[in-house]
């Protein structure tokens, strides 16, 4: 019963909805969240930051052609580190 492994495996299979992951693993959503945090601190997943400062860093800021919308949700992706054996 390797829960962390199973979680990684499920994410790898393409499930992006954490509630679905929780259901598949038979644990609470909260626990999935916790496992993701642990995996993050171990370097297996990382949070993707989508242009957090895109608007501030925008080269055209002074003649800004529009308006900035930011996406606030957090997205974690598997790191390349993966399950592969290190040599």
């Amino acid at each position: 019963m390797a829960k962390l492994d199973n979680l990684l495996e499920l994410i790898r299979s393409g499930i992006t909805n954490p509630k679905e992951l929780a259901e598949k693993l038979g644990v609470s959503y909260e626990e999935v969240e916790g496992m993701i945090k642990i995996l993050e601190s171990m370097g297996y997943v990382e949070e993707i930051k989508f242009g957090e400062n895109a608007c501030n860093k925008c080269p055209l800021k002074s003649i800004c052609p529009g308006s900035c919308i930011m996406f606030k949700g957090k997205i974690y992706q598997l790191k390349k580190k993966d399950f592969a054996l290190k040599r």
Binding site: T16, K49, G51, P59, L60, I63, P65, S67, I69, Q77
Partner: protein, 680 residues
């Protein structure tokens, strides 16, 4: 520990030689709250030596005695992956702390105990667990047998509610008693499967002969070696030499072959399982996994079919909201600008200046500015969707759709940003790790109607389709998005397929948005729209005014604008669009709102957007207006977006974007106009 770049030297601020209490725990467990409660205002904030991580220290007083409390960075484990973890780990490892207070959030204990085990595994004996947020656990129906927990974990456990201060006196008492040596502990440490344990023992034996034994827990060193912890490898190599180290590494490789993966994940798995078993011994009543309202709503909103329908409904509601509340405001503004033009005109004697100010600036810029309420409301709507947490659900739904079209699911995010402005959206594609995904997302991004194009779409929809304007506007948005997805499929065929790294989307709890933040955010964003009206659009309006009045005013067929438009008319007429549309589209490249501004100037409108709508209604059919709205949305990214694509992808992709968009807009324009002609 001499193994890392991060050096801890608490003595600097501990001249009195006070006993040291270190606070460890996951982020957000209430560590700061407890730190403040223990130290009151006797605090000092600085940085950890050599790094810009905040270090907080304070003095705790208890029965006339003083202790130095050090707040360690919040972490989920003690690997060497981040600077925070290294700081916390080295501080504890170096034996700086006389007592480590491990603050655990009782409402989500699993992840918290993972850190607890990492601490205990280091061989630290003086640990007190503060079982914080006990009120939240209670609310969830989780109860703890504290005595049993202490027995199982082998260290004192003090339930606390840092918010109300409950349990903090007991915590202080336990800390002091431990410092005074009045409490003996017997910390539990995780036990692993036999092959791992055997290797731990083997490595420990090899390390026994070194000086490491005097400073470190050998079992911990062995485990870290198995995990291939770089810091520990360096440390051990210094003391053991290459020969023995190679032997150890050989063993590790064999064990990795056995488990067919890195040992850090194997060990973490087994540790996790170990904790799972422990927890069942002292958590009396695990709150049932009752499906909350939150979960039920999510089931619908993230459902492949219902979720998609909800998304469409939300979208429609957004536009309904924008039109219902925005149109009246827009009419007021419009009246204001036309009155302004009328009021100012008599005061300007010079005919040329009057023409420039009244027709060019007020007529052109004013027509665009009157859309400010709509843009502001669109941003309010988006901010509400964001703040409630709905966007994350929409991401789950759209992610599936995206993947069907060969797009990475993650590109949903840049697409959302694009509704505001394509430029930051193009820049956000940088977060996509695969080159192919990045290019495709970048190329289809301009097809998502930004707030500037919303102005054109809503103007034309409002002028020509009063009854069904929301539907028509949503229709144009939907067509553009569909074309973006189809383009992804098409472009994907020409670019070599790469791999997307899998991902998860966090679903935050639903929240009722705070009106204050929604309005502040929307205002901040809309301000850009105003600024743009004062710069790019103003510049465009002056240019258009000049070109349409020189050398001879428009209508003569001899103005520069007319000549330019007439030259393009043979082509634009294929889409049913006359020379005025052609000129407008040309100026729209500077900024898409200029399409409206140009029409305003070409028609010489002085009375604002309403008057323009009437004039245009007389000159165009609804079909032509629909085609114009669609072509404006698709035909070319604005200059700024082309610049962004060039900056992110180079000249080649900027050129591809220009050519592709032009071709697509032409094909769609011709198709829609002719099909519409036959059907209507």
């Amino acid at each position: 520990m001499g193994c890392c770049d991060v050096k801890n030297d608490p003595k600097i601020s501990n001249k009195k030689g006070l006993k040291i209490v270190a606070l460890a725990g996951n982020p957000n467990v209430g560590k700061t709250t407890i730190f403040n409660a223990l130290t009151g205002l006797r605090q000092h904030v600085g940085n950890w030596p050599g790094v810009t991580v905040e270090k907080k220290e304070g003095i705790m007083k208890y029965k006339g005695r003083e202790f130095l409390v050090v707040d360690l960075p919040g972490t989920y484990s003690l690997t060497a992956h981040s600077i925070d973890e290294l700081i916390a780990r080295n501080f504890i490892l170096d034996g700086n702390a006389d007592v480590v207070v491990d603050i655990a959030d009782s409402s989500c204990l699993m992840r918290n105990l993972f850190l607890t085990m990492e601490i205990l595994e280091m061989g630290v004996k003086n640990v007190v667990i503060a079982l914080n947020k006990i009120d939240l656990a209670k609310k969830k129906g989780v109860k703890f047998d504290i005595r049993k927990m202490e027995k199982v974990l082998g260290v004192p456990v003090i339930p606390t509610n840092a918010k109300s201060g409950e349990g903090l006196d007991e915590l202080k008492k336990a800390i002091v008693a431990m410092i005074d040596g009045k409490i003996t502990t017997n910390p539990v440490i995780p036990v692993y499967e036999e092959p791992i344990e055997r290797e731990i023992e083997h490595i420990s034996k090899l390390l026994t002969g070194t000086v490491l034994i005097e400073r470190y827990n050998l079992r911990w060193l062995a485990i870290k070696l198995l995990e291939r912890d770089e810091e520990v490898i360096k440390l051990v190599l210094n003391h053991l030499g290459h020969g023995k180290m190679d032997e150890i590494l050989q063993h590790i490789s064999e064990l990795e072959q056995y488990y067919k993966r890195s040992l850090d994940i194997v060990i973490a798995n087994q540790k996790y399982e170990f904790i799972d078993n422990l927890i069942h011994q002292f958590v009396i009543h695990q709150g049932e996994f009752k499906e909350t309202l939150n979960d039920q709503v999510d089931r619908i909103l993230t459902h492949p079919v219902y979720g998609f329908l909800s998304l469409a409904a939300v979208f429609y509601a957004l536009f309904k909201f924008v039109f219902t509340f925005g149109t009246p405001m827009q009419e007021h503004l419009d009246a204001l600008f036309s009155n302004l033009g009328e009021a100012i005109a008599p005061y300007i004697a010079n005919e040329m200046v009057r023409g420039l100010v009244v027709d060019g600036i007020i007529g052109g810029v004013g027509a665009v500015l009157s859309f400010f309420p709509l843009v502001f409301l669109l941003f309010i709507g988006m901010a509400i969707l964001e703040d409630t947490g709905y966007m994350a659900r929409a991401a789950v739904v759209m992610e599936r759709v995206m993947r069907k079209f060969g797009l990475p699911g993650k590109s949903f995010i840049p697409m959302v940003l694009a509704f505001g402005c394509n430029v930051p959206a193009v820049m956000a594609t940088r977060a996509l790790d695969d080159e192919r995904d990045r290019i495709i997302t970048m190329l289809i991004n301009p097809l998502v109607p930004c707030s500037a194009r919303m102005v054109v779409i809503t103007f034309l929809a409002g002028a020509f389709f009063q009854e069904h304007k929301a539907l028509i506007a949503v229709g144009i948005y939907m067509i553009s998005i569909l074309l973006a997805l189809l383009s992804a499929l098409l472009i994907g065929k020409f670019i070599i397929k790469g791999e997307e790294s899998p991902f998860v989307i966090e679903l935050p709890d639903y929240l009722i948005p705070s009106w204050k933040t929604v309005i502040i955010h929307s205002w901040e964003r809309s301000k850009e729209f105003l600024r743009k009206a004062g710069t790019v659009i103003l510049f465009g309006a002056i240019l258009i005014w000049y070109l349409s009045n020189y050398p001879v005013p428009v209508g003569s067929g001899l103005s520069y604008a007319e000549k330019l438009g007439k030259a393009l008319e043979p082509f634009s007429m294929l889409m049913g669009l006359d020379w005025k549309a052609a000129v407008s589209l040309i100026f729209g490249i500077i900024a898409k709102e200029n399409v409206i501004a140009t029409y305003g100037i070409l028609y010489g409108v002085e009375e604002g957007e309403q008057a323009l709508a009437i004039l245009m209604r007389n000159a165009m059919t609804p079909l032509q207006a629909f085609t114009l709205a669609l072509v404006t949305t698709l035909y070319l990214p604005c200059i700024a977006t082309i610049g962004a694509i060039r900056a992110e992808g180079g000249n080649k992709w900027a050129l591809v974007a220009v050519v592709y968009n032009l071709a697509l807009a032409s094909i769609i324009g011709i198709l829609v106009y002719h099909l519409g002609f036959f059907l209507l």
